[in-house]
């Protein structure tokens, strides 16, 4: 495993474990999701850049567009949660079952 492979795969694993294990705020979970998409973007663009296959370089840009969609949906969920529950702490989502 080259250092670049090690770096982006460990970045992905770090963001995934940070999303999965313990989160206080909902916004921190979305930040971890953004970190996952960022490591995927770097991985998919370094794949095409290292192999000189420039025809595949459209895929990271489209991935970035999809990650923007994901971030906007997540932030809309955050706004809705802050309106219905008053805060975005994940304990309150368990507390009020609604």
């Amino acid at each position: 495993m080259t250092p670049v492979h090690f770096a982006f795969s460990s970045a992905f694993m770090l963001s995934l474990s940070g999303l999965a294990f313990y989160r206080t705020h909902l916004l921190s979970a979305f930040l971890c999701l953004e970190g996952m998409m960022l490591s995927l973007f770097i991985a998919i663009s370094l794949w095409a850049l290292q192999l000189d296959t420039t025809g595949f370089l459209t895929s990271p840009v489209l991935l970035l567009a999809f990650s923007a969609c994901e971030a906007s949906a997540g932030l809309a969920l955050l706004v809705a949660t802050a309106r219905t529950h008053g805060t975005d702490r994940l304990q309150n989502l368990n507390l009020f079952q609604c």
Binding site: A11, E34, F41, L46, T54, L75, V79
Partner: protein, 173 residues
Amino acid sequence: MTYIMLLLLMGMIMGLVFVASNPSPYFGALGLVAVASVGCGILVNYGGSFLSLVLFLIYLGGMLVVFAYSAALAADPFPEGLGNWFVKLLVVVYMMGITSFSFLFSGKWHEFSWVPVDEISEFSVFRGDVGGVALMYSFGGIFLIIGAWVLLLALFVVLELTRGFNSGAFRAI
């Protein structure tokens, strides 16, 4: 260039350790800004200057402004940075995890191959990725239409999620 790349890769891992170790959203967004900047540096060292520019504009120009707004919405009176003991504990745990991961999988650190695209080691603007991204408008036209459709769908998803009197963004005082 090899040492700069190693520094950038380690910076990416350290920044994501900080993001993953549950700080307050202010510091988490700051760590994500740092990780995005370091990712731009990695892409520039590989020769993808246009991709680096796009990443910089999207993450630091667009997304992080929205995240700053949302961090102001989800305000925290006592933000927890690296000074908190729990964040420190999680940083130590994630660093131990990364170290064990490196012992498992990075046995061959001599496999260094930094080959920038077009094999030009200098910084220049017209590299291969400019033409590669421009292929999106000729051969990838159908996927471009799908992407535009997905963005439109995301607009309606956001409008539907923040609609109504109870969960809307506007608040009747």
